[in-house]
């Protein structure tokens, strides 16, 4: 991983100096050693701060909506799952492909600081990545973890290590491209009774504080003005003492991104209340795959998303009730 970061850094400086790009978007160190933050670098000297490690989880694609409209070309480092988001944004005409130089960067999975903490590492000051293992430096000494055990949810459910769009690649250690089962969590909820499902979601969604972080980080939520901020939409609302508006917010948000969501998992990663928002999106993905054929949003930049498409012999809506369970 460190080697990848060094190559990336060098290449970024090279491209800046050659004038191929005039800016670079990547990650820089945050306040702590585990909160790498998206950053735009404009000088070769500035790139000293560039970081790429197990905490470089933020998906940079959404930043390119604005960045690609600016003067000159920008270099963007995109992890495999981030390239899906970028492709989807091309499909929706939200980014200017010509203004972005994409380096597809190798990803071995990103770590979740909360898991590290929950697994007994208190007082974490910094974290080092050793490829297979992750070492948390804490006030009380070092703790070593198997990386697979502390991965972010979105990386546990990694959809593959293939970059679907790039101008060049930095891949030092080719990774196993086998996608993991993403739908176990959805299935677990499907197997509950309606009462249990409702109880589950009421508990989860009532935690929502309407900070809008999920929306703001989501590359599919790229509207200039969100319907929830638009008083004329009829659904605009703020945080409410009751849970119903939060439900509405999350249902509508999930429906709006259905067929467009690339399952980048950022919504769950950034949620300060740890609501498993990815399950909402994955439910749609699972259903669309089951009813309308396998579809991966962002796999390319042309095909029609399932909800703006149809086939004359699509399943009838009654398939839902026919799936069994009580009425």
């Amino acid at each position: 991983m460190q080697k990848v970061a060094e190559i990336a850094q060098k290449r970024a400086i090279q491209l800046l100096n050659q004038g191929v790009v005039n800016r670079v978007i990547g990650w820089k160190k945050g306040e702590f050693g585990y909160d790498e933050t998206p950053a735009v670098f404009t000088t070769a000297a500035g790139i000293e701060d560039f970081r790429y490690d197990v905490f470089s989880a933020p998906n940079l694609s959404k930043y390119l909506i604005d960045e690609s409209k600016k003067e000159g070309k920008i270099l963007a480092f995109l992890k495999p799952c981030d390239t899906y988001s970028f492709n989807q944004l091309i499909k929706e005409h939200r980014v200017n492909r010509d203004n972005v130089y994409i380096i597809g960067i190798e990803c071995g999975g990103m770590a979740d600081i909360n898991t590290i903490r929950n697994r007994g590492a208190a007082g974490v000051t910094d974290v080092a990545d050793n490829g297979q293992t992750v070492i948390a430096h804490t006030l009380y000494g070092d703790v070593t973890f198997d990386k697979n055990e502390v991965l972010l949810e979105k990386c546990q459910a990694c959809k593959g290590k293939k970059h679907v769009i790039f101008d060049e690649l930095i891949v030092v250690n080719p990774q196993d491209d086998e996608p993991k089962n993403r739908f176990a969590g959805v299935e677990a909820i499907e197997n509950m009774t309606p009462e249990e499902r409702f109880a589950f979601w009421r508990e989860q969604l009532s935690k929502c504080i309407r900070c809008n972080a999920c929306r703001n980080v989501c590359p599919a939520c790229s509207c200039l003005q969100c319907v929830f901020d638009n008083p004329r939409s009829g659904v605009a609302s703020k945080a409410s003492p009751d849970t119903f508006e939060e439900q509405l917010y999350h249902i509508i948000r999930a429906f709006h991104v259905a067929g467009r969501c690339t399952d980048c998992g950022e919504c769950s990663r950034v949620c300060p209340q740890d609501i498993p928002l990815h399950l909402l999106n994955r439910k749609f993905i699972k259903d669309m795959n089951a009813f309308y054929g396998e579809y991966k949003a962002g796999e390319d930049s042309e095909t029609r998303p399932p909800l703006v498409n149809f086939s004359k012999d699509d399943a009838e809506p009654s398939v839902i009730s026919d799936k069994g369970g009580d009425k």
């Binding site: 309606p194 409702f198 509405l248 429906f255 149809f310 004359k312 009730s321 369970g325």
Partner: protein, 152 residues
């Protein structure tokens, strides 16, 4: 609960497309075919005009069931509208089910302008199902139903 069911009259919102289902409802009327008065019809040009927001809004404001009626697939006045409805509402209703909103409270039915009798029987059946499920407290804005306290 059974006592409540007998007196419980659910509020049902039916979205009907102008060309087929609304006309089917008219035909049910001209044929004097009875179905419960709890069904209130909202006319839309095409079932594909129905935004999921409308469905959620109905539930929030106190509806106990929402039914969507359109032309039979292949007969859409706008040729393709109900194909989109079919996908959207299959997705939405399964999603609501995923959140624990009973699937019996939502339904899509294709009713042509000639199917007055079917319109009436579909409504009778739907009202019966929703009545059995009882009042919807799940995604209603509980403030609109003062008699039901949160956590009841």
């Amino acid at each position: 609960m059974s006592v409540e069911h007998e007196s419980f009259k659910p509020t049902i919102v039916a979205f009907c497309c102008n060309w087929c289902s609304y006309a089917g409802a008219d035909l049910a009327g001209s044929g004097r075919m009875q179905y419960p008065a709890n069904v209130k019809i909202i006319k839309v040009p095409c079932s594909c005009r129905v935004n999921p927001t409308f469905v959620l809004r109905a539930f929030q404001r106190g509806a106990d069931g929402v039914i969507m009626c359109g032309c039979h697939p292949g007969d859409c006045h706008y040729s393709t509208g109900n194909y989109y409805t079919r996908r959207r509402m299959t997705m939405l209703f399964d999603f609501l089910d995923f959140l624990g909103i009973e699937r019996g409270r939502t339904r899509v039915e294709w009713v042509s302008a000639a199917e007055g009798a079917r319109f009436a029987s579909v409504m009778n059946d739907f009202v019966k199902n929703v009545t059995e499920l009882g009042p919807n407290r799940k995604i209603t804005d509980l403030r609109t139903k003062p008699e039901h306290k949160e956590g009841e």
